[in-house]
């Protein structure tokens, strides 16, 4: 797996070398083993999905990827280097951004300001310069605002630019959250159940945005999702987890025909 091999997806994109590798990850909370000896990789430019029933350890996995949890065993490799234990903001600086299962926005702030917070890791001017609104701080703000406006345009949320986020409907809040993650211009974008609680139309919109992000900016995407239809449609490769173990890994078709997966998740649990 470590060799620099590439593959071509069903729709003709060339997927590059691994961007992130999880090697034999085991994560325990006291006596509970949330993740048990799991290895997989996320390759440059792909849409990678992690699926599994409730309590399978998906969100824990995502938290390991973005450095919020430190696994007791195993190694995380990012861009060809072994990653040491880091604080979440250091991870963010490395180019990993995420959205949350339960929306975590600043409700009283406008859409624009919320997305602007996604630029924080890119701001360099000091506190005093920012307070005085002079010199570097000014040019920096303008440059960052330009990027934020591109994101707003991309997600088609111009009409709610100045609206406090708390007043927006759920589907739009999800979109703003995606916007904030995008504003960070991440290498790797982690989405924790981006479609949860959405109706069909909102899901279609969100799927389109995810694919467009991948297509337009070449962003690598790892997502957790419950909606099988969505996952099978948009993911290039899927990891299936059950009770903290990996039970399947491959293209949507491979996973769909994997007997373990059918037994554990798709077939038995749902029919």
């Amino acid at each position: 797996m470590n060799a620099v091999d590439t593959y071509i997806t069903a729709d003709g994109r060339t997927i590059g070398a691994p961007l992130m590798e999880m090697k034999n990850i085991t994560l325990r909370f006291g006596g509970v083993t949330a993740i048990q000896d799991i290895s997989f990789d996320i390759r440059e430019g792909e849409v990678r999905a992690i699926i599994g029933p409730n309590g399978a350890g998906k969100s824990s996995m995502l938290n390991v990827i973005n450095g919020f949890y430190h696994p007791q065993e195993g190694e995380v490799w990012f861009r060809g280097k072994k990653r040491l234990a880091m604080k979440p903001h250091q991870i963010a600086k490395q180019g990993i951004a995420r959205t949350f299962q339960n929306i975590a926005l600043f409700k009283g702030m406008s859409t624009l300001d919320n997305i602007m917070t996604g630029r924080l890791t890119h701001m360099k001017s000091g506190l005093f310069s920012q307070m005085a609104w002079w010199g570097g701080a000014q040019t920096e703000e303008v440059a960052n605002r330009a990027i934020v406006e591109k994101v707003i345009d991309f997600l088609e949320i111009q009409a709610i630019r100045k609206t406090p986020v708390g007043r927006l409907p759920y589907g739009f809040q999800k979109r703003v959250e995606l916007g904030r993650a995008l504003a960070a211009e991440p290498k790797l974008l982690l989405l924790d159940e981006p479609m949860a609680g959405m109706n069909v139309e909102e899901k279609e919109d969100m799927s389109r945005f995810i694919l467009d992000v991948n297509d337009e900016f070449g962003t690598t995407i790892a997502l957790i999702e419950h909606d099988m239809g969505v996952v099978m449609d948009i993911a290039d490769r899927v990891v299936v987890m059950d009770y903290g173990k990996k039970i399947g890994d491959g293209t949507p078709d491979e996973v769909r025909n994997n007997q373990d997966v059918i037994d554990a998740y798709l077939g038995v649990a749902h029919d």
Binding site: E149, Q158, A159, R161
Partner: protein, 653 residues
């Protein structure tokens, strides 16, 4: 044609552009909000942009007389595409952007379009869907590349890249472009616009440069529109009005055209641009008033009190001030105080502070609605027009504005009423012909140039104003021989905020019946205040209390209809509230939101039957088309209500 006088040289749109690029070189021609900032282009820059695109079109092999379809929302780029097409001798054909692929395919096939300028992935997808069936369609020029990275680009070219190619090959192609520009004159086709078609297939109306430029000139003089005016272009580009306002008049007088950031931000953008010249259909003004009313109902008691005091006063004084009639000093003072406290800020919120000339047309406008805007001091007037006339047939002069007429003939227009009441006109703006449809052309336009409008109306003897009764073909007779004019009743019904749309039937029957669509915003707000829970349009529409409310509206209309000598037979005896909103995607409305009576009658045949057979309710199943073209079905059991009718004497007493 090349060495004539200056006046004669301004006989095509590209020549007006060349003039503007010299005369108003540094003045803003277009503004568009993008990335949260108003971007602007001067006439000089506009000239360069259009020329580059025109040169680019030459490299694609566009020939004079080709048709180039344009489909996108109001953005400077698409206005440029129209003028660029004209520059190379091609005919621009703007399409309704929300039309589904098959509708577009019909038009593209009918005009044998060789190229399409499309906005984004959504439009390009529609084109790709139908491209295989269209022999003549060769290429798609797209503006926004998002989402199309993986597309097969053999038939696609990027708008901006095409402009760059044009710039790069300028020296080599400029001669050809100049030659083509010089070959054009006032008889060259300026644009082809497809009528929305309340019946049958859309027809392509061919308008020459003379039509457009004469109309623009006359109408600019009529309302003294000058280079310092500005408009916001937000109505569909495929509609003739937008072409006249945003290209005809804008190029003639050199004023600036603003484009909103997106459809949803239009109201905010309107507020920021503050246009001086504004057009909107009655539906828009109605929606705006409804939202004002809703917000006032939610306001505190003091604000409501202030609003009432000053609005009541403004309703009396405002229209008089606009018409320059005598008003007492105290009344003036009170009106001005109101302007500071209430009407001024309200006008500003609506984005209408600077409006000097406002027009509404397309449908009748309710007198109360009309007076509301005039009392704010907005010079809102009515005009009557159609695609075939390059818009203007009649319009109201300043100081002669009324809710119930559409004004006197526009400059350069002759008017005639036929024996059967149909309105005919003859003007410089009258269209040349329907494309590939000599039969319809002959039926509509006679040898002397008189054009049939298809509307029945009469000219008021004392004022000379034209009054429209209804579509001529919709006017019929009830069984007892009395006159039946559905629109007359429908308009009265639609003046109620609760009623969004309605269709009245009765031709050849004993009595009249009606289908009604409630206004979800207005009725929804009412439901909220009265603690009525609902989860969908269908549920709210079927609610007994909503039915009772609508019933009282219908009966009030009956009382008013009863007073009319000719039309008292058109009172509504029974009605139902439809379980879905009438929609253009289902073919029930035209793309300009006019009801297609026959199609609705056919589609809801069962409902119509139930209205006449006396039953209390009916179960029905209706096919609906979603925005992306997929189909589904909804079922409902609809209640049918009787409405009280009146005879003339009783009301008079």
């Amino acid at each position: 044609m090349t060495n004539t006088t200056t006046a004669a040289a301004l006989d095509t749109v590209p020549r007006l552009l060349a003039r503007n690029a010299k005369t108003y070189a540094e003045k803003a021609a277009y503004r568009e909000k993008e990335y949260g900032i108003w971007q602007s282009w001067t006439w000089g820059q506009t000239f360069e942009e259009i020329q580059s695109l025109a040169l680019g079109l030459l490299t694609l092999g566009v020939k004079p007389g080709d048709h180039i379809a344009i489909v996108g929302r109001n953005r400077p780029y698409f206005y440029w595409a129209m003028v660029a097409a004209q520059s190379v001798g091609a005919v621009p054909v703007p399409l309704y952007r929300d039309a589904v692929a098959e509708e577009m395919a019909y038009v593209l096939d009918h005009c044998s379009a060789r190229f399409v300028v499309a906005e984004d992935q959504e439009q390009v997808d529609k084109m790709i869907d139908v491209m295989d069936d269209l022999e003549t369609l060769e290429g798609i020029i797209f503006l926004d590349p998002s989402g199309m990275r993986k597309y097969d680009k053999s038939a696609l070219s990027s708008y901006r890249e095409l402009q760059q190619i044009g710039r790069d090959r300028k020296s080599e192609l400029q001669g050809e472009l100049d030659k083509r520009l010089a070959a054009q004159g006032s008889d060259t086709t300026c644009v082809m616009l497809y009528t929305s078609g309340t019946t049958g297939r859309p027809k392509g109306v061919v308008l020459s440069n003379r039509n457009i430029i004469e109309t623009a000139k006359n109408s600019c003089e009529f309302d003294s529109l000058v280079a310092d005016d500005s408009v916001l272009a937000y109505l569909p580009m495929a509609w003739v009005g937008d072409f006249i306002f945003s290209i005809g008049q804008a190029y003639w007088s050199g004023f600036c055209v603003g484009c909103p950031e997106s459809q949803e931000t239009m109201q905010k953008d309107l507020n920021e641009v503050g246009p001086t010249y504004f057009f909107a259909p009655p539906r828009y003004f109605e929606g705006l008033l409804t939202s004002v009313q809703i917000r006032m109902e939610d306001a505190g008691p003091f604000k409501r009190w202030l609003f009432k005091i000053f609005m009541d006063h403004a309703k009396v004084v405002g229209p008089k001030l606009l018409d320059v009639k005598p008003v007492g000093l105290m009344d003036r003072l009170k009106y001005n105080l109101g302007a500071i406290l209430i009407t001024g800020p309200l006008k500003n919120t609506l984005g209408l502070s600077r409006v000097r000339v406002g027009y509404t047309a397309g449908e009748a406008i309710g007198p109360e609605l009309f007076d509301f805007y005039r009392s704010l001091g907005i010079n809102l007037k009515q005009l009557y027009g159609q695609t075939e006339a390059s818009v203007f047939i009649t319009q109201q002069k300043d100081g002669e504005v009324r809710a119930d007429t559409v004004g006197t003939p526009s400059p350069g227009v002759e008017l005639r009423i036929a024996d059967n009441g149909e309105v005919f006109y003859r003007s410089a703006g009258a269209f040349d012909h329907y494309y590939k449809n000599p039969k319809s052309t002959k039926e509509t336009k006679d040898k002397e140039g008189w054009v049939a409008t298809g509307d029945a109306g009469f000219i008021e003897s004392d004022s000379g104003h034209l009054r429209i009764i209804d579509r001529a073909k919709d006017v019929g007779k009830l069984k007892d021989g009395s006159m039946f004019a559905p629109k007359f009743v429908e308009n009265k019904l639609k003046f109620y905020a609760n009623i969004l749309e309605t269709v009245v039937f009765g031709n050849g029957k004993d009595t009249c019946v009606a289908f009604i669509n409630i206004d979800l915003t207005a009725v929804g707000n009412w439901a909220e205040r009265n603690n009525i829970a609902y989860s969908s349009y269908q549920e709210l529409a079927g609610h007994p209390e909503v039915y009772s409310m609508i019933q009282s509206n219908v009966q009030a209309v009956n009382a008013s209809v009863a007073q009319d000598e000719m039309l008292s037979g058109c009172q509504i005896t029974r009605f139902l509230i439809l379980h879905k909103e009438l929609d253009a995607d289902d073919g029930e409305l035209t793309r300009t939101q006019k009801v297609r009576r026959n199609i609705i009658a056919e589609k809801y045949d069962d409902l119509l039957g139930a209205l006449y057979d006396g039953s209390d309710s009916i179960f029905t199943k209706t096919e609906v088309t979603y925005e992306d073209g997929r189909k589904g079905a909804i079922t409902a059991t609809l209640e049918i209500r009787d409405a009280q009718t009146y005879d003339r004497k009783k009301v008079a007493a």
